[in-house]
């Protein structure tokens, strides 16, 4: 084995130009793979984050659209049904009519268990002004409403429920959820305050939760588990995946195109290595012939070319990973939107890079298989007789 390695290295060194070119070929292939893969994954992560990062990923509703009374127990059961469930929180959502000054509009009043909801909505960091509501008659509104009506902190808004009950709430802060419809359409208050305004008693309309980051795409499976654990025909469990089918099919399309690119890159890498090594076997047939005459076994002759494939693959892959990460970094550093933020954030998915690298190295060794078999079939007598 040591001799095979020694010979493989010397063969590669003796054809420096050829070796450099094939390593460059593999490196470019792998870098494209890493770059395209990271780009698409970054894009998808961004999209998913923006779409569901600040909303409930799994929600338990009452099937008839009504209220849930034993919501605490429902939350506990949901939390216990899968280890990936986190940030279980409760919401009482009701449409209302808001009046401010001479203006009025409809407003979705969201009564949230604020401490728990922080894990879903991250309101703390989304407050642009003021503070979260604490008392019964306090509310926070979106920054867009503030702009539209020229509101100030401490102003009071009149809320009229569909049951014609009215309440006056003090605006304690303004939030920015990055989505205009939410910034104009939501008013957030405490769960207790909402229960009081709408006179629902200790009930909620939904139990909301997030799942761990790397389980986001398993939300439907987890939702299934929760449904089973709850075992209640009057409740329905909905995951973000069933609510965002068009986004999902878009993501899936992207993933497929990314896989296709990666597969064709791997195929071209395999063909490149196989053809160069096939030529090397012919170039080195004299050496292989004499080595065999001196007692080198066929398996060792194969080993030389498999090792060449491995060395080329490993060096090319290492260079390709660096190059690919360099491309990704450059893309995020130089391709900026109008506000100077990267269009797609620099995203490194270590397992993806490791898998791509391992696939490229394996492909290189596989590509060396054909030339290796050719060298093992080489008969020394043909070399010696036909010199």
């Amino acid at each position: 084995m040591r001799l095979c390695m020694h010979i493989a290295l010397r063969f590669l060194k003796s054809g420096r130009g050829q070796t450099f070119l094939i390593i460059l070929g593999i490196a470019i292939g792998v870098s494209v793979q890493i770059f395209i893969g990271s780009l698409i994954q970054g894009l998808q992560k961004d999209l998913v984050d923006k779409t569901i990062g600040n909303s409930s990923q799994i929600t338990v509703y009452s099937r008839d659209g009504g209220l849930i009374g034993d919501y605490r127990k429902t939350g506990e059961t949901a939390e216990a049904s899968d280890a990936d469930v986190r940030s279980v929180s409760f919401a009482l959502d009701n449409t209302s009519f808001m009046e401010y000054g001479g203006d009025s509009q409809s407003l979705l009043i969201r009564g949230l268990s604020l401490e728990r909801a922080e894990g879903i909505y991250h309101l703390g960091s989304r407050m642009k002004e003021g503070s979260l509501p604490a008392g019964d008659d306090e509310i926070i509104l979106g920054t867009d409403l503030k702009k539209e009506y020229g509101m100030n902190l401490g102003d009071k808004v009149k809320i009229t429920t569909t049951g014609r009950k009215t309440a006056y709430c003090k605006v304690t802060g303004f939030f920015d959820l990055d989505v205009s419809s939410l910034n104009t359409g939501w008013g957030i208050t405490t769960l207790r305050a909402a229960q009081k305004i709408f006179g629902t008693g200790d009930k909620v309309t939904s139990v909301e939760m997030h799942v761990k980051n790397d389980s986001v795409f398993q939300a439907d499976t987890i939702a299934g588990k929760i449904k089973k654990a709850l075992d209640r025909s009057d409740l329905k469990v909905v995951s973000w995946k069933s609510q965002n089918r068009s986004l999902l099919s878009g993501l899936q399309g992207q993933s497929i195109s990314s896989y296709m690119i990666q597969i064709f890159v791997i195929i071209s890498v395999i063909l490149g290595i196989a053809s160069v090594l096939a030529i090397t076997v012919i170039q080195k047939s004299r050496q292989i012939g004499i080595l065999k005459a001196m007692g080198l076994r066929n398996s060792s002759a194969r080993g030389i070319f498999l090792l060449e494939g491995l060395i080329l693959g490993a060096l090319g892959t290492a260079a390709g990973i660096c190059l690919g990460l360099g491309f990704s970094f450059a893309f995020s550093a130089f391709v900026l939107d109008s506000e100077g933020n990267p269009v797609i954030a620099f995203y490194i998915n270590v397992p993806f890079i490791l898998i791509s690298g391992a696939a490229a190295v394996t492909a290189s060794v596989l590509a060396a298989l054909f030339p290796a078999l050719r060298s093992s079939r080489l008969d020394p007598i043909d070399i010696i007789r036909n010199n």
């Binding site: 040591r2 010979i7 004499i290």
Partner: protein
Amino acid sequence: MSSITELRKVNKIYENEIKNQVLYDVDLSLEAGSFNSIIGQSGSGKSTLLNIMGTLDRATSGDVLIDGRNIKKMSPVMLADLRNDTIGFVFQFHYLMPEFTAMENVLIPYRIKHGNITEEISRRADMLMRRVGLEEVKNNMSTKMSGGQQQRTAIARALINDPKIILADEPTGNLDSDSAEKIYSLLKEINQEYGTTFAVITHDRRIAEKADRIIEIKDGRINVDIVR
């Protein structure tokens, strides 16, 4: 004396588009420690004979015994190991590996068997390089040597595993007469010093006559066999 290589009724037929018999019922036994020269015209079958003795080529029929072992039923692996242990080759073309130095080339047959180089084998390689007069250039790349030096390196390489027999096919065919003379003297000296058996194909009758035994092959048969 015991025989190191024995051919019994060896026939060799090449069957491509036309059937071509190269060797006819050859019986030949080389005694251990002897220096044998094989002569004959081009196409007489002498190289085929040598290649069959070296297990590089297979006889169509008949038996080949190397060091008392019949090779007929040996697997390619066993044959490879047998060649590595027992036989040293010197060809008309030196067949050194251009990617390695002279010294590294000499050590290759040992490394094929053992992988690593020991201090002992290093000393032996040094000694062989000295013996063939290449001490000064032993670390040169094999391509940076004269034809005579390359052939002497090939001889040192053939000797590294202390083989029982060295098969040489026109080892001086590519050299000027001066270098050729030196190479033959070297082979003869090695034969006498180490007792290694030699079978050397040559065109040069003058050189052939220095051997202990001259075997002339003609049309695939042993025509003349003189032991002196």
